[in-house]
Amino acid sequence: MATQYRFGVEPITCHAWNKEQTQLALSPNNDEVHIYGLSGGQWVKQHTLSEHTQRVTGIDWAPKSNRIVTCGVDRNAYVWTFNGTKWEPVLVILRINRAATCVKWSPEENKFAIGSGARLISVCYYESENNWWVSKHIKKPIRSTVTCLDWHPNNYLLACGSSDFKTRVYSAYVKEIESKPSANEWGSKLPFAAMLGEYSNGGGGWVHAVCFSSSGTKLAWVGHDSSISIVDAANGFNILTAKTSYLPFTSCLWVTENSLVVGGYDNLPLLFNCSQGAINFVNKLDIPKKSGGGSMSAMKRFQQMDTRGRDSEDSKVVTLHQNAIRQLTLHSGSKSSCAKFASGGNDGQILVWDIRTLESQIAGLTIS
């Protein structure tokens, strides 16, 4: 169903793939970033990036320019470039007084955005005359920690989710490095830090993840109230919300223009479809094998009842992930037609899910 890779017992707080998916950067819930290379079907550790002094919270790997950006609880961010033998860090001054929580390269890779507990987003770009990364702040009206970010494919708009239960869309147009953006479906006036939209699903639950669809007209977000919401700019900014019966989702990813994969505390990815003005549940993508209710001796049964207060061994986690999914990333393909996506979990595993294989293995499943 999915290819399973284990990286120890520590939770994988964040991970990122290089362009060819031959290398993988991950942080095992500490101040280090490990770079693994694929050799003979096995992941072998090649480099350890240890510049952060506290826990790393975000990693993003720019596919075209082959640069890695990392951010951490030590309020620092580093841009790493590979010089042929090792990865060289460059410190980015973020000017924040709380932990950085998430980081994303823009699609053009000429800037990146970092969310933080200081209730602001730092948009950083490279100033060549000073040979330095500088940051600009988006502040208003964020009332709480920025938990997640995603860039619009046009390289100008930035969506952020926050623990004040709201999702916002900003213009992140940096006039120093790029040409003026033209009007788009989210807004026409786009000076830096202009808020183009503020969306809420009406309930509590802070936002765990945001994701623009490949066309950039739809923005999905998941919250801690087990909800999935989608706002559609092409459809009068209509907000669709599905309050599901599952445990909360921590991550979401568009795999086609209308299909959204979410994953979270249920340890498995779920597929939802957005069509005809509603968000519909399609299928679980990890269907646990039925444990053949093998016969159990009377002695064993009574022992189980004695030691565990139950007569069968159903306390085992039946999903492939043995703990919550922390992050879903695009592995190969694009958001408009994803070929494979990956999920990193608290169980120290990264699973790579192949869409075509899933379609053939799960009866009646077509992802369109």
């Binding site: 009332r143 109230d225 019966s245």
Partner: protein, 150 residues
Amino acid sequence: MSVNTGAKLFRKVDVDQFDEERFVEDAGDDSSAVGPNESEVNNLLAQNRNAEALKAVLNNPPVNTKDQAIKDRCASLVLRVLSAFKVSEMEGAINGLEQPAQDVLMKYLYRGFESPKEAVQSNLLAWHEKLFAVGGYGCIVRVLTDRKTV
């Protein structure tokens, strides 16, 4: 040796009040809709139309008001409706509810668990079991995360 004064008054100082970007709750958007129509619910109960009474009592939950007395009155009314049900009738009644109403019902159940009275508790637990079977964990999580309490 240092003296432990036990002073804890300073903990009540709200240091955030001068922060102009502090988090503020969304103001209640509709303050007129406070609480269900009590007489309607009573009428339905008197006619033994329990399922309809349940629907009516979950209408307009007093989530936006800060008046504790209104919340208390609604909670006791809901408890009265819930205790009118037999265990066999619960499932059908829950299936007849929309998803938002199920969430509201779960809020009232947890509200009910706050004040332990044994006779009511067993009834509430039965409700909880049936509602969990329909609403799943999401229903419970929404009770825990929602700032709008009943």
